[in-house]
Structure formats: C-alpha cells, structure tokens
Symmetry: none
Subunit: 215 residues, 4 copies
DNA sequence: AATGAATGAGGATTCATTCAT
DNA sequence: TATGAATGAATCCTCATTCAT
C-alpha cells in the first residue's frame, strides 16, 4: 500500500509538473502557439506521457482553466470575508482580483484568453461555457455586496449593482493587462501600483450617494 | 503614362482588397488561425498574389496594425475637436474610442492582440515600439484635457491627469472586449450600451472636486 | 488556353500517378498498413501533394474503389454482350470476372478488402454502402441471365436466380484469392487455370434441368 | 508441489484468457486495429502481463492461428467419421467447415487473414508454410473421399478429385465470408442458410455421373 | 509474477512559402 | 503580373514495448 501510494504520488507530481509547464507556456504563447512537445520538454517528460494524464491538448488547457478559476474564486471569497464594512469589502475584492492576477500571471492570461474570441474558437463550446459560468458567479457574488451598499444608502439608489460589478471587473482586467506587459512602455510600475487603489476609489466615489453626504 | 497609372491603381485596389480581407479574418480568427488561402479567397485573388504585395504573413499583419492605429488617432482627434467644454471633450474622446472600436472590431482586435504579450512575440520590437508610441501620444493628448479640468477646478486637484487617462483607456478597452464577444454570456447588450456612458460618468463624478460643488 | 490545358493535363497525370501508387500499395499492404508517405514516394511527389488531389486517405481509397468497381462493371457488361446464348453468356460473365481480377489484382484486392469486416471499420459507412450498391447491381444483372435460363427451361425451375448468382460470385472470388497468392502452396497454376472453366461448368451442370434433358 | 501446480494452473488460465480476448478482438477489428491495451483489458490483466506470456503482438497472433487450425482439423475429421456413405461424407465435411467457421468466426477470420497476401507480410515464412501445410492436408483428406466417389461410379470419371476439393473449399470460404459480414447488404441470412446446403448439392449434382443415372 | 507509467517512433493532416507557367 | 500546383516542416495524437516498483 505504501508502495502504491508512492507510485501514485509520483504520478501526481508528474501531472502537476505538466500543468505548471503548460500553464506557463499557454500563458506566454497562447493556446495555438504552444505545442505539446514544448510542454513535454519543459515538464521533463516525453510527448506520450502528456496523453497519459490528459486526453488531449484541449483537456489539458481546460484543466488549467478550471483550477485557475477555482483559485481565483477562493482568493476573492477570502478577501470578502476578511474585510470589515461594505465599502472595505468591495475594495478588498477588487484589489484581491488584481493582486492574485499579478501573483499568478499565467492563470490570469489563460483565463483572459479563454474569454477572448479568437482563442475560443479552438475550444469546445462546453469549455467556454464552463469558464463563463464561474465568472458570472463571481460577478453575482460581487453584485450582492454592491446591492447591500445601495440598500444601506452608501451608494446612490440609481446604481445598478450588476453593472457596477461588471465595470469594476473590466477596469481591473484592463489594468492587469497593462501591468503584465514585460515592457509596458506607456506607464511605469509605480504609477500602476498607485492606480490599482486609486481606480476603485474613483469608481466608488463616483457611485456614492452624494445627497446623503451633503447633509 | 495614363496606362501606367491605371495599372498602378489596379495594383493598389488589389492591395486594399487583400488588406480588408486579412483584417476581417485576423480579427475573427486570430493570427494563427487565419490562413493565407482564406485571405486570398476572400480577397478574390490567388494565394501567390498575396506574396506580390506582402513579403510574408507577418508583414501583412503589421501593415494592418499600422493603418488601424492611424485611423484611431484621427477619430479621437476629431471627437476632441467637435465637442464643447472640457467635460464634454473628455467624454467625447472616451466614447469615440469605444464607438470606433465597435465600428471597426477588426482593427480593435488586431491592435489589442498586438498589445498582448503573446502576440508581441511574433512582432519585431520596432513594430511594438511604433504602436506603443502612438498609444502614448493619445494618452498624452487626453491627459492634457484632464489637466485643464484640474486647473479649472472641475476635477479635484489631487488627481493625476495621466493616470486618469490611463484608467479611462483601460476601462474602455475592458468594456469593448466584452462587447465584442459573439456570445458575451455574462451580460446582455442593452446593459453594455448603458454602461458605456455610465462608466465615464462614474469616473468623472468620482474625479470631481466635490468640495467646490458643495459650496 | 493551350497553356492552361497543359497545366491541367499535368495535374491529371499526377492524380493518376497517385492513384496507381495507392492502388498498388493498398492492395499489397492493406488500408491501414499503407502510409500516405509511402504513396507519395511511390508516386514521386511530396506528402502534401496527395492532399491537393484527395481530401483524405479515405477519399483516396474510395476513389480507387469506385473507379475499380466501374472497370469491373464495364468488363462484365462487355462479356455479356459479346457471348451468344444464355449458357455462354453466364459462363462468359463468370470468366470475365475472374480474368479481370487476375489482370487487375490491385483493384480486386482493394474491392475485396472493402468487403471484409475489419477493413470496413476504417471506412465511413457511406463508402461501404456505395461499393456494396454497385456489387448488388452486378448481381442483379447476372440474376437476370439466370432467370432467363430458368424460364427457357435450360435451368431447373426450382433454381433461385439471385442465389445462383451469389454462389457463382463467391466461388469466383474464392478462386481468385487463391490464384493471387504469390506462393499458393496448395495448388499449382495449371490446375487453377483449368478450375476456372471447370468450376462454372460444374455449377451450370448442377443447375440444369436434367428431366428435360432426359427426354 | 501442489502449490507449484496451482501456480502453474493459474498461469495457464491467464494465458488462455489472453488468447480468448485476443482472438475475439483480432477477429473483430483485424491485426492492426487491435491494441495490446484492449486485449489486456478484455483479458482482465495489465498490459505488461501480456509480455510475460507472449514475446510480442505478432507472437500472440500466431499462437492463436496455430491453435485455430488444429481446432478446424479436428472438426472436419469428426464430420467425416460420423457421416455414412460417400456423398454424405463429402457433404458433411463441407458443411462442417461452414458451421465451424460460423461458430468460431474469430478463428475463421484470423486464418483467412493469414492466407491473404497482405497479412502474410507480417508473418514469418515458416508460419505461413505451417498453416498452408495443414490446409493442404485437409484438402488431401477431402480428395480421398472424392476419389472414392469417382472410383465407385458416383462421380463422373473425368473429375479431378483434388481440384474438386479445392473448389468446394473456395466456395465454402466465399460463402462464409459473406455470412460473417455484420451487414451483408447484398443478401439476407435466410437466403444464405439455404445456400449452404444448396451449394454443395449443386456442386455434387454437377459432378455426378449422369450417364449412370440415366440408365 | 504482475503492474502500469513512461517512452518515442510513426502516421495523418495543415499551411506558409516557392516557382514554373 | 497573376496563378495555383508542389513542397515539406510542423503538429496532434497513438500504441507497441520496456522497466522500475
């Protein structure tokens, strides 16, 4: 039994090595430009071994996506729980999304690519739907916070919670994309770091119920 | 001489037909997924003809990029000029960026791809620098408007103009990406259309000098 | 126009060279054991060229089948027409089938393989159906001769014409298979040649209406 | 000693399980189409185990052939012995060949494939010679019956006994091939069943000494 | 003896690019 | 100039066989 477990552990390690290699390469070169041979070489295995662990290139990709999405979900959840107060929670989740993306750029890129039209074409509709489903789920969780903000009077009553979440998500994504460029050219990293916090402050400030503040 | 000029016109028309076809296809399917045969067929020529006009697939791609960037520049410039008032100008440029992107999705996608790390790898550093240069130029033009907004007291004095432009640009890009998905899955198009205007309103509202308003 | 036609002729020649090469190799090694590279090399072209003329390995195979079946059909038809008298016609068609098979062993083998279960599995049901359809057609033509033989009193009234055709076909096929072995081992070629005529004589003799002869 | 024999029995059982699995699969899908993994799974063992019992895929295939040939031999022998009268014996052997083939389609197919040119190429000349030898032996046994038929005046004196046996064998094989098709397309199974008996009747009728009958 | 993970040669197919006409 | 046939490197995937456990 010990022996079996040792063998299984080894297999699991291989699998993880493959996933790490694939994640890195998919993220750097995109789905189509990454070849199974490259992945195998980077993972230190033979081509055929990949197919022992994943039925196809697409399944390997999907597995990475799903794992990545799950990781994101946990991070956001933790951020929401650990912050106090509605405004703080909203900011925490927003910043957690950015920080997690920067910490795991491969995951961010793979998920983003899954979202972009031209990468979608190589994936089965099912894969795309699965990833989209999880993203929508985040957005709805986030909306709930915003809704509470509106109900509590913090944010102005005309604000649509889901649209605000959507906006925050797209803004964060746009900033991360910029931050992940090897040579951003149009901005230096200090400015970007400031912008992460500033951006959500701006959005929240704009969404506040100024009537009530003025009183 | 007339004949020569007729011949040249014909050649130019061919070249443009090829570029239109390529733009459409690169934008829909991405660089790798688009084949030279498809481009040729859509342009109504033979495969070999493409190589009379462009040295390689990559050169064709780059030519499209450069042309697209120029078109964007003109549109933004026109938007700035035709709007009245600082706030209106800022909004106009922001919305023009979005509208132009939606009107010319191919150009938007090709430029966005050029910006993303994994596509950059296929491009010469020179091309990347060229495109980046033009983008920085837009941002600086836009910054100038924001700076005037700050100086006039419309926007709060602590606002960094360049950072604000950057933020608006990334937000707009993030929204356009979503809008261009064939099946956005997480949002319907009505919501998105509202969001285009709402987003810049929110950003501007958040950037305003509320002290002065309250008075 | 002359030039175009020259080019087209060349293309047609290539196509035929490929078909000849494929026919030979499929017949010698079977469908699965034959590789596209081998076919290309034997045809004196590059691998890619095959795909200019045939969409896939299967389509190439099918094309050979269909052409082969047609050739058979014409041969049998000619045999039927040129012989005099019912009995002679039946014998002529039977022998023509054998002779054509021996003259074009590749075609015979390819068609036989299409018929055998394990080769069918690699082919689309459509391919199989198409070939089967033509074979059934032969059998029905042949049946018609036998039916006339029964009606004229030459063959015994209890004889089922279609079954007799089937039997003759299977017998002929069985003999050809033996004749095509490089080293038959169980029979020498003189014996086989005698057997070709003898076999149909035996079958016809057995099918005759002996009552009427006895009168 | 008991333990050792138990172990040996187990080993033998494994070996037989593997052979049964392989026979079934080779027969259904052909040599190339059958994978060692499939055989292992069907036999309830691991892939590696196959190589403890058989040096290679080919050796496994050959072992099945040889065993199959032996089984055929016994069946035919039994049929000859249990029938009474020359004509009955000839028919019995003929029908036994067909029935055994239908009862053990795997064996039939494997042997037939061994006989066909394209499969022979994978086999050592020795194996082919061995199988051929056994087949010739059948044919000679069968010839003996026919010879007696000629000598007794049942069959016409001009009939060559070996050729007649050859013919009967090829006819039977041709019919079995048709009968084993999953979807015969050109004939239904009722007709085929009638044809089994009808065919040997026709052949024998054709071979009879009609002069003597007429008297 | 049994296992099953790992290997890597081999096969079908695609497509950017070349070049003879 | 325009064509499109030809090329062959590159890609995904399969599977017989080996070997450490």
């Amino acid at each position: 039994m010990d022996k079996i477990s040792r063998r299984e552990r080894k297999k699991l390690e291989r699998r993880e090595a493959i996933m790490r290699a694939a994640e890195e390469l998919f993220s750097r070169h995109g789905y189509r430009e990454t070849t199974m041979l490259e992945i195998a070489e980077r993972a230190g295995t033979a081509k055929g071994t990949l197919y022992l662990h994943f039925k196809s290139k697409e399944e390997l990709y999907l597995t990475i996506c799903v794992k990545g999405v799950a990781g994101f979900g946990e991070t956001l959840e933790r951020a929401r729980e650990s912050a106090d107060g509605l405004e703080e929670k909203i900011k925490a989740v927003y910043l957690a999304y950015i920080r997690h993306s920067l910490r795991e750029p491969s995951v961010f890129r793979v998920l983003r690519d899954t979202f972009l039209e031209n990468v979608r074409q190589n994936l089965s509709p099912d894969t795309v739907r699965q990833v989209s489903g999880i993203i929508r789920n985040w957005l709805e969780n986030e909306s709930q916070l915003v809704r509470e903000g509106v109900e509590s009077g913090l944010l102005r009553p005309t604000l649509d919670p889901y649209r605000f979440s959507l906006l925050a998500w797209r803004t964060a994504t746009g900033l991360v994309e910029l931050a992940l460029l090897e040579d951003p050219m149009v901005v230096d990293s200090t400015q970007l770091n400031v912008l992460f916090e500033e951006s959500i402050d701006l959005l929240l400030q704009g969404a506040k119920n100024h009537r009530s503040e003025e009183v």
